[in-house]
Amino acid sequence: MKDIDPVKALDDKVERLKKDVKSLGIRIDNAQTDAAQQKLSTTNQFRDTNRKITRTGDRVTELAESVHRLERLLVALNRKVRASETQKADFDTWPEVPDSLVATILAGQEAYARKTFTQQEAKNTRKAIAEYDRAALAAIDAADALTTLPAHAEALWRKKYREWRTITGRHRPELPDDDTHARDTAAKAAGNEAVARVRQTIRDRIEDAVARDLLFPAWFENMLGPAAPPGKADDWLHTATDVVLYRLLHGITSPADALGPAPKEQGHRRDLHDRLVVECADYRKP
C-alpha cells in the first residue's frame, strides 16, 4: 500500500535509514572486536615462536659445549688407546746431537747478536781513540803546568784548568778488535752449519714418527695439534722442527709446555719464541 502522505513516507525512510546505520555500527563494532582478537592471537603466537627460538638457541649452545667436551674426551681417549697399543715418539732425548754441537749453534747466535764493526766504523773509532789519546796527553801536560804555576797567575790557572777539564768528562771508545770480527764470522758459519745438521736430524725423526704413526709427546700435541693440517704438511714440519730445536737449545724440559715461559730480555730467542707461538696457534685452529 502506497503511502500518500509525503511526510509520513519521508519519516518511514528516515526510520529505515536509522536502522541501516545502527546495523552498520553493530557490524563495525563486531569487525573491530574480531580484528583485536586476531591481533592478540598473532602477538601470542609471535611470543611463543620467540620463546621457542630462544630455547633452541640455548640448546644449540649446550650442544656445542657438549660437542667440544666430547671432542676433548675423544682426543684424550685416542691418546690413551694409542698409548696402550702404539709406540711413543721421543722428541726429548737427542744422543745424535752432542752438547758441543748445541754450543756451536749458541755461539753462532751470540756472534749474530754481537754488534759488528764495519770497516768505516772501525776507522772512525780508531780515529776517535787517537784523538782521545792526544787530548789526554795535552790535558796531562796542562795539569802538569798547574803543579808549577804561582798562585797569583790566575789567567794561566784558568786556561790550564780549562784544558784539563776537556778530558775528565770523556770516555775512551772501545778498540775494535780484528780478531773478534774474524772469530765472529767463523762462529756464524759454524753455527749455520750446525743448525742445518741438527734441523735435518730432528726433521727426520719427526717424519719417521709421522710415518710410523707414533704417539707424539704431550707438549708436542699441545703446541702443534694432533697432526699436520691438510695441505700444510711442510710448513707444519718446519715449525715442529723449530719447536723441538728451541727446546733442545734452551734446555726446556717441561712435559706439557713446549716452549716454556717467554724469555724476558729482547733478542733472537724472544723473537723466535713469539714467532713459534703465533705459528703454532695457526696450526691448532679448527
Binding site: 782521545y132 789526554a136 798547574l146 790557572w157 784558568r158 784539563w164
Partner: protein
C-alpha cells in the same frame, strides 16, 4: 798563619805531580786509566782549592778595606753631592760593599779576585757619581756581572 795556605798549595801541587806521573805511566790505553784519571781529577780540584785559599788569604784584607772605603765614600758623596738620581748608584755600591764586607772572598775557585773586581768597580762608581749621577750604577752593575760570570761560569 800566612804561610799556611802557601805550604798547603805546595803540598797539593806535589801530590798532583805524583798522581800525574802515575797517570802518564799508565797511558790512555791502560785499563787503570779511568780510575787514575778520576783520582788525578780530585788532586787537580784540591790544588785549585788550595790556590783559592792562597788568594783568599791575600785578598781578604784589601777587599774588606775597599768595601769599607766604598761605604764611607758613598756616604760622603750622598751628603756632599746630594741628588735623588745619584742615590741609585750609591745604594747599589753600598749593597755590593755590604756583601763583600760580610764575605770578602767567596767560596768558588775564581771568586776572591772576582770580588776584588766587583768592589773596585763599586768604589770607582761611587767616586764618579758626582759626575755621572745615576749612570755610574752601570759601572757597579758591570762589576757585579763580571763577578757573577767568574763565580757561575
Amino acid at each position: 798563619m800566612a804561610a799556611e795556605p802557601f805550604a798547603r798549595l805546595a803540598d797539593r801541587q806535589h801530590a798532583l805531580r805524583t798522581a800525574l806521573r802515575a797517570l802518564r805511566a799508565a797511558g790512555p790505553g791502560s785499563p787503570d786509566f779511568p780510575a787514575l784519571l778520576a783520582a788525578t781529577d780530585k788532586e787537580v780540584e784540591a790544588v785549585l782549592q788550595a790556590r783559592r785559599d792562597v788568594e783568599a788569604a791575600r785578598l781578604t784584607v784589601p777587599n774588606r778595606a775597599t768595601a769599607a772605603g766604598t761605604s764611607v765614600a758613598a756616604l760622603v758623596v750622598a751628603v756632599g753631592w746630594f741628588d735623588a738620581w745619584s742615590l741609585l748608584s750609591l745604594v747599589l755600591a753600598v749593597a755590593t760593599a755590604a756583601a763583600v764586607l760580610v764575605d770578602p772572598t767567596g767560596r768558588t775557585h775564581w771568586e776572591p779576585r772576582a770580588r776584588t773586581a766587583a768592589i773596585s768597580a763599586a768604589l770607582l762608581a761611587v767616586l764618579l757619581t758626582p759626575l755621572l749621577n745615576g749612570w755610574a750604577a752601570l759601572i757597579t752593575a758591570a762589576g757585579i756581572a763580571w763577578w757573577a760570570r767568574r763565580t757561575l761560569g
